[in-house]
């Protein structure tokens, strides 16, 4: 409901016409409504509409990202791997009948075949990456491993975003003693040997159920990687909070929590997105490390780390058991890093060194 009824005193300025003015020479000048002085603005507004239409910050960034070949390559590879690991296992189990944990009944098949080699030694499309010691299809396992690895990367990063942003933004906005205390806590957590803590956590509480192990992994990795996120967000918020728009928001009576989460946090999104895309590969690497040590994902579920751990035992005889998961993981991490770098250049053009 337009609230005109509540404020009869207010009329749009543009609607108060002034009578035509007759100059000394007799010409009648139709002065525009009282707001003729704003004519320049009107014109510039029209100009804006025709020339600047739809140029948003994000669209600009997207355009810059598309110009960066490595970043586009990274984006495409990441998307392909994402799609493949989501859809791949279904496709494989429907075409070849092999799923990631399918162990053939025939004992002759329970051994590691090389890629594209059928049990009788002829060429075959059944196992493009070969099979492992138990005769399981490595491609299916790599794709399922990708699912787990990406899930760990994304969910842990999300957890770290959630904690890091709220913690860092609050600390940065409050400043003073609260900030000091909150950041010293971060410093203390930083100085703890977190890998050891994760290992202890996983060794103590893990192993009861595969799902429990996974959840524990998410929490453990997320709880560690929010520290840097908190620092980044805090720094951003500290530089933003003295800007006039924050004062203006306070002057209109907006509450502190709303200023932090509605006004300041969106302004930090650029660096946060960049850091998040770079956190995903680092978390995935940590997951791989833990799984490699046998603390992460438990068989028959697979992650790239656990596949590599399996493969390394037979590296001399069956190198494909290590090569395929290893290469897939390296490719993904490369791509994510390229994408992250590209995003940083795109979202923060001033930072870019030409």
């Amino acid at each position: 409901m337009p609230p005109e009824s509540e404020e009869p005193a207010l009329t749009p300025l543009g609607t108060t016409p002034t009578p035509p003015v007759r100059t000394r020479t007799g010409d009648i000048i139709h002065t525009a409504p009282e707001f003729a002085i704003g004519e320049a603005d009107v014109r510039s507004a029209e100009l804006h509409q025709t020339t600047l239409k739809g140029t948003s910050l994000w669209r600009d960034a997207w355009r810059r990202l598309l110009k960066n070949r490595l970043a586009v390559f990274g984006l495409i590879v990441v998307c392909l791997i994402l799609v493949a690991s989501l859809a791949g296992p279904y496709v494989i189990s429907h075409t070849t009948g092999y799923s990631y944990d399918f162990i053939p009944k025939d004992s002759k098949l329970v051994k590691s075949f090389a890629p594209f080699i059928a049990p009788d030694g002829s060429f075959s499309w059944t196992h493009p990456m070969g099979t492992d010691n138990a005769g399981r299809d490595i491609l299916a396992r790599v794709l399922i491993g990708g699912r787990i690895s990406l899930m760990v990367g994304i969910i842990s990063t999300f957890v770290s975003l959630l904690i890091g942003i709220s913690y860092g933004a609050t600390s940065g906005y409050l400043g003073g003693r609260a900030d000091n205390l909150m950041m010293r806590i971060v410093d203390v957590l930083y100085s703890l040997p977190y890998m050891m803590i994760i290992i202890v956590l996983l060794a103590m509480f893990g192993g009861r159920s595969p799902l429990g192990q996974l959840v524990l992994l998410f929490i453990a990795l997320g709880a560690v990687s929010w520290l840097t996120m908190a620092r980044i967000v805090r720094g951003q918020v500290m530089s933003l909070k003295n800007q006039e728009f924050v004062l203006a928001a306070r002057a209109t009576g907006v509450s502190t929590s709303r200023i932090i989460f509605r006004h300041l946090v969106p302004n930090t999104l650029g660096p946060v997105i960049v850091y998040a895309t770079l956190t995903i590969p680092s978390v995935m690497l940590q997951e791989a490390f833990l799984s490699f040590l046998g603390l992460g994902v438990q068989a028959p579920l697979a992650s790239w780390g656990s596949l590599a751990a399996d493969g390394i035992q037979n590296i001399a005889i069956f190198p494909w058991q290590l090569i395929f998961p290893g290469v897939t993981m390296a490719l993904t991490l490369f791509s994510l890093n390229f994408l992250g770098d590209g995003l940083r250049d795109a979202l923060d053009p001033q930072m870019r060194k030409v």
Binding site: M1, P2, P3, E4, E7, A9, L10, T11, P12, L13, G14, E34, F35, I37, G38, A40, D41, V42, S44, A45, E46, H48, Q49, L52, T55, S56, L57, G175, G176, Q243, E244, F245, L247, A248, A249, R250, A251, T252, G253, V254, S255, R262, H263, P266, N267, L269
Partner: protein
């Protein structure tokens, strides 16, 4: 100030200090004034004289830790804002007292659509639903003369020019029909043609809504046509306080006289240098014992550096902080009369009552 009408805001002995490494900076040091309903008050002074801090103090927005409101009362409708709980102050901010800031380029959130920023206020204070707030936002944009408001309301601030952003700020400030609008140098960051538009807009909207306005500026030309009363601040203190025409006609303080003389005048003779007050504003952390203006004052005598000047009443609503206030006042009044006689001899008789502070143009 005038005793008739309803006193909207009454500031009594406001003191805001900042603790710095260099000592205590007395940014606002004992300011008192009254503001009547519907009246416009101008606060004038050089940079660093405490104008902005005074107004941030009124709605308790002085940044704490360094800043501290040491003493004083700010009575808004007789209620002391200084004594209110934080939540209650927040309910006043933006709803009953709102502010326009100096730089429209930075006072809008670059990541929020204009509509969102306008809607936030009315949703917060008037309890509007989303659609009500949206319509109100469009209405407010139309009110401040943004063309094609309905399509432009969803723009981001960077799509607007400086003048239009300041209009958006005004629309925001007036969304809840506040009783008091504090405009902190609203035109400083704008170019001269836009300045005139914005001032005209504030004046019009003030007349339409009946709001009181506090206009902070360092530009005497800006306050001349818009205000009823003027406070001249220097080093955190009120140096002179008078109705606008009185201040322009008969300034009772050497500092005010200096300010008036340094206003550029189109009729100013080419080649002669423009007057400027010698020296720089003092370091408010280390003020001298006497009058803070004494080192720069043309009229200063030995007593000025020794004794703090008295706050002298010159007329019913005219006060000046100076040892020689009466003398300066008498002299300016004589100068005015002389100028008027000159004008009335050469042009036509002027009704003395109707002269409204255009001394500068008459001198030409």
């Amino acid at each position: 100030m005038s005793s008739n009408g309803h006193t909207l805001l009454s500031v009594k002995d406001l003191r805001t200090y900042f603790e710095t490494e260099d000592g205590t900076v007395k940014a606002v040091d004992g300011i008192s004034f009254d503001l009547q309903k519907g009246e416009t008050l101008g606060i004038v002074g050089e940079s660093g004289s405490g104008k902005s801090v005074t107004n941030l103090s009124i709605i308790r927005l002085v940044p704490r830790p360094p800043g501290r409101i040491v003493s004083g009362e700010v009575l808004f409708h007789g209620q002391d804002i200084m004594a209110l709980a934080d939540d209650d102050v927040r309910k006043i901010r933006g709803k009953r007292i709102s502010m326009i800031f100096q730089d429209p380029m930075t006072s809008l959130n670059p990541f929020m659509r204009i509509s969102k920023q306008l809607m936030e206020i009315t949703q917060l204070h008037l309890g509007h639903t989303k659609s009500q707030a949206y319509e109100h936002a469009i209405h407010m944009l139309e009110l401040v003369g943004i063309p094609d408001a309905r399509t432009r309301v969803d723009s981001y601030p960077h799509e607007f020019s400086g003048g239009m952003r300041q209009r958006v700020m005004i629309a925001m400030a007036l969304s809840c029909q506040p009783e008091l609008l504090i405009a902190d140098e609203p035109t400083t960051a704008l170019d001269v043609t836009i300045q005139a538009q914005i001032l005209e807009l504030i004046k019009r909207l003030k007349e339409q809504t009946g709001a009181s306005v506090i206009l902070i500026t360092h530009d005497l030309g800006v306050v001349a046509g818009m205000t009823d009363h003027i406070i001249v601040m220097y080093a955190g203190k009120v140096f002179e306080q008078a109705p606008t025409h009185e201040l322009f006609d008969c300034p009772g303080n050497p500092y005010t006289k200096g300010l008036l003389r340094s206003v550029p005048d189109p009729a100013h003779e080419a080649g002669t240098p423009l007057y400027q007050i010698p020296g720089l504003p003092p370091d408010v952390a280390h003020l001298p014992a006497g009058c803070p203006f004494a080192p720069r004052c043309e009229r200063a005598e030995e007593i000025c550096t020794r004794e703090y000047p008295p706050f002298v009443q010159l007329a019913r609503e005219h006060f000046s902080l100076c040892h020689f206030a009466e003398e300066v006042y008498a002299q300016s009044c004589r100068e005015r009369d002389a100028a008027q006689n000159e004008v009335s001899e050469t042009v036509e008789p002027i009704d003395h009552q109707a002269t409204n502070g255009q001394t500068r143009t008459k001198n030409a």
